[in-house]
Amino acid sequence: SAVISQKPSRDICQRGTSLTIQCQVDSQVTMMFWYRQQPGQSLTLIATANQGSEATYESGFVIDKFPISRPNLTFSTLTVSNMSPEDSSIYLCSVVRGPLQETQYFGPGTRLLVL
């Protein structure tokens, strides 16, 4: 398994501001993912963050809105920029582990409320 922590665990932010979410893993991993889970919805993949290269964004998500950093193999950040109430969601960090890189583990999530 993987031990994944996220900071902050929750936050309440004002419209127009930005929030950076941190994800820390207990050991080195190649692939890290950022997901969003809006209220009452399933998880939606935002982007894949690989160390040493730019993040790869899914359709509907752009770097200007969700800049991602991946400075090393145990850490990543996701910034939610110029927030609006529609960004209120749980943001989850995830990593892949296993001999075949087949098992995905999730962090506890960051619960964001934008007023």
Binding site: S42, L43, L45, T48, L92, Q101, E102, Q104
Partner: protein
């Protein structure tokens, strides 16, 4: 388009009755398939994956390539099985989640 479908948003089953959570996928090739579970106030966790053909907490799931299905089954439901269940194919090293089915076990 590649997608995964969980047709039931909510499934209520009496304790002791059999459970089947449906999942259909429309991916080309042979995606790896997973079931994830999220219990109340807990983080999302892996329940089982089709490549290992294991049984976890009494749940099994068989990949049916002909029907492109990966239904989750348990012969006798228990109250602690109440949770949100997500079917999730892994394609191109990315896991894409279905909309999920909330399983509610009735006493």
């Amino acid at each position: 388009a590649q997608r995964v479908t969980q047709p039931e948003k909510l499934l209520s089953v009496f304790k002791g009755a059999p459970v089947e959570l449906k999942c259909n996928y429309s991916y080309s090739g042979s995606p790896e398939l997973f079931w994830y579970v999220q219990y109340s106030r807990q983080r999302l966790q892996l329940l089982l994956r089709h490549i290992s053909r294991e049984s976890i907490k009494g749940f099994t799931a068989d990949l049916n390539k002909g029907e492109t299905s990966f239904h989750l089954k348990k012969p006798f439901a228990q109250e602690e099985d109440s949770a949100m269940y997500y079917c999730a194919p892994n394609r191109d090293d990315k896991i894409i989640f279905g909309k999920g089915t909330r399983l509610h076990i009735l006493p």
